[in-house]
Symmetry: C2
Subunit: 195 residues, 2 copies
């Protein structure tokens, strides 16, 4: 089996997006991240910020209240966004080797044998350091914000895939970028991709 | 940070023990697996089979009923075994570089910076193939037996560590041995150990 597609699921602040970008450069294949948001915005007319947020996070309720809220007639805007996003990811994957960051691409492409599913995570301390120093986020209560992001990302994943985000068994490889370093993560994944 | 100790947590049938043994040969460091059972049997007078089973698995209740059953005066035999096992793992880790297979060693050694925490897993199909062809287990209802093993191992881990077994964030690296192959898993871990 050869890998053609890489999906990078990641904890916010773990540097998963950086891993994806570095991999894209190293392997010479496109990384779909911002482009998905732009294409979806064009197709749907929705604001990029809305897509960025509602294509990966619930609004803050739990999976149950979110499931209820999405069951109104014809589905919620979030449900429609999910369908658009799903179709776009399937389409892009058909075009050739590429990398997807988040957006449940691991689940959406789960039936492909040529897809290497990666999860990047890091300890809370390292994630706080990264969002404050690299992303320029406020240093006020960063742990609370990260826990909230985790919770909403997990809830979104569960709502649309009916499975659990961050459970090792769903990925081919999970890496602690805080312990191993971004560069080492890139090296290991690139090596597996090129096998 | 240099790694001196490797803990291999694993799903039953994923080949985690084989990965540990191959690593032991490759790195020239001991792998504590059967030896822990033998030493504990000697110290406690308990049968090896009992230790093998009750040092990693609950008896089949959920974590709550198990927690209740272990709260009798002075603690249950399983609780005493946990303490003996914990002390032995801490002692062995002090002696020098080594590998531990299962037995919550990842949790017991969680405060050491020189410990590389690994989780090995595989898809159900690959695990069934392995337990039937490699371990010579009965081919009758293997999936049911594997699910039961997972459940009891998870419950044991939760009971004694108060955290969740198999969640990617608890390990430095998690690998799907069914997809990547045993040899590749050994290569990646050995490379990280030697960094």
């Amino acid at each position: 089996m050869s890998n053609k597609i890489i999906t990078i699921s990641r904890e916010f602040g773990s540097g998963g997006r950086t891993v994806a970008k570095e991999l894209s450069k190293k392997l010479g294949i496109p990384c779909f991240d911002q482009e998905i948001i732009e294409q979806l915005s064009e197709k749907s007319g929705l604001a990029k910020e809305f897509i960025k947020e509602r294509g990966e996070y619930t609004t803050g309720g739990n999976w149950f209240t979110n499931a209820l809220s999405s069951n109104n007639y014809g589905g919620s805007i979030q449900d429609k966004l999910w369908l658009l996003q799903r179709n776009l990811i399937l389409e892009l994957a058909e075009k050739g080797p590429c990398i997807f960051v988040g957006r449940c691409a691991d689940y959406i492409l789960k039936d492909r044998d040529d897809c290497l599913k990666v999860f990047i995570h890091a300890d809370m301390e390292k994630r706080i350091e990264r969002i404050v120093t690299h992303y320029g986020e406020s240093s006020v209560a960063p742990e609370k914000r990260l826990r909230d992001k985790d919770k909403r990302r997990k809830a979104y994943y569960q709502l649309y895939t009916d499975s659990e985000w961050g459970v090792a068994q769903h990925y081919d490889i999970s890496l602690n970028s805080g312990k191993l370093g971004i560069e080492k993560c890139v090296e290991i994944i690139a090596d597996l991709y090129n096998e």
